[in-house]
Symmetry: C2
Subunit: 300 residues, 2 copies
Amino acid sequence: MARSDTRFRAAYNQVLDYCEGQPAGAHIPSEAALCEIAGVSRTVIRRCLSRLQEAGIISWDGREKRILRAPAESDRIDQPEPTAGGADLEERFLDWVLRFDVPAGTTLSVAELSRTFSVPQHELKEFLAGLSRFGLVSRRPQGGWTLLGFTKEFAVELSDFRSVLELNAVAQAVEAPVDHPLWAKLAELRDRHLDLKARIDRDYHAFSKLDEGFHQAINSVVKNRFVAEFQKVISLIFHYHFMWDKTEEKIRNAAAIDEHLAIIDALEARDGPAAQEAARRHLRTSKTTLLSSLRHHDLG
Amino acid sequence: MARSDTRFRAAYNQVLDYCEGQPAGAHIPSEAALCEIAGVSRTVIRRCLSRLQEAGIISWDGREKRILRAPAESDRIDQPEPTAGGADLEERFLDWVLRFDVPAGTTLSVAELSRTFSVPQHELKEFLAGLSRFGLVSRRPQGGWTLLGFTKEFAVELSDFRSVLELNAVAQAVEAPVDHPLWAKLAELRDRHLDLKARIDRDYHAFSKLDEGFHQAINSVVKNRFVAEFQKVISLIFHYHFMWDKTEEKIRNAAAIDEHLAIIDALEARDGPAAQEAARRHLRTSKTTLLSSLRHHDLG
DNA sequence: ATACAGTTCTTAATTATTAAATGCACATCG
DNA sequence: CGATGTGCATTTAATAATTAAGAACTGTAT
């Protein structure tokens, strides 16, 4: 019932690394200096020094610290878990929701999620608290959480919001300076689109990745933390939905390629209104697709 | 080291209420029925019954439950704290940050915040996790949180994002049907603006509230959970900044009133481009004001 | 057969505990 | 004496333990 000593373990090994680089008998720098090296507090460094002394690797008396012998491989402490998949929890969570088609209104239990994702409960609680800011989940009065997302309303609102952001991005993209990386990226994307169009009959699955890249490129001109944060969620949801919804995938993707190309054409011609119109058309189809995929799920 | 029994206390008093309405000797309904009455689980009801039995208020043997005597006032359990200001934590937090002008980069300690706001630590952690989604704070590697907000970049990005949302709202407002409550609201706001304009020399402080109401009205036409969530944060930040930044407040507010009136005029004339232009102008001044208020803080 | 109570298992809020961080006072060396 | 470094004490935060509350299953009397 205490916090893990991951920090100590990592620091200890790091100090061992340092010792290995030094000859026996060498002086060891001050505690504060070691803090800098290991990136931890003095408390941890002092624990490390204690242990090094116990292990007979160093002598330590006040500021008189010397290396006694070179550390062996067996002196290292093994890190408990190099995993910590808590980083991409968001991706894994959305993947789980969409893959298993978890219906809206489902009660999410922290304990259960903690087990399925092997993430400490408190991390999950923080994560859910964050999602609630996006209206994806909400706290229940009796405790616990409810999954709100992926109703028709949610899809409509998400699509509309996406449209607002993306039309703004397009408007800014038209104004982007000629040396902006966007233009190189767009040229490359055009080639990849044309390439995929030629072999769409076989490789229509590859479009999902291309779509993500395309929208990312457009939005890259908008330097805004709020937009960026939302974009992550939006792109994940659209990405996965298109991946799992297989109805008419080939036709749909072929059409989307043309829509993308139209946007690229307009952008490269620096034709603002045309770009807006092309983007609007594409976003409209995306919205329809997202909605129809939900309808399928409702029926099936 | 256990969760609070608030639920039990409330339920117990509620069951007492029920008993008071019944004559002595009366049968008590089933446990499940009592659950309905008190809105809690059977576990809690059974605890209540146990305690009622101990207190000699009822007899309880299996499904044979009878009232022995009318409950007295002293039988009630007093609720620990009816407060729980955790609801408007967001408002209080932002108020605190802006009122004390907490600089960007400040390390926020959960323990300290927990004390100043008298909110349990874990609630604060969830709250901060939520804010981190908006890029206002971020977790430090050594533990704790850093306040990121209220740098120049933050203000610029927030203003830009606000502009995108609000211009979209204006575009939708122009298209709103004649029976939409917006129009009545706008007419009322126009009057209040004109009223305040007449006495701006004395009551220029009153503008802040009016400003909030105006932007809320405009944004009310957009039915979108994402927009709504952001709007809350945005309006809070702008609201407080204008409240604390006293430089040239009178002139600034007088100018803003005119800008608001221009937007109302254009909207009521259903003139889309004019409304966009008026809104764009107003948002530009808002951004400038927000930025200049930050500059003042930097110097002072 | 069905409505209810008895029982057991799960879940979630909260506290207790310990690792880590931080702050301050004092020591040592130039 | 001042700068640098250490010793000690306090504070903070991550995590496990603990208990209230919820939910499901089972038995039983009407």
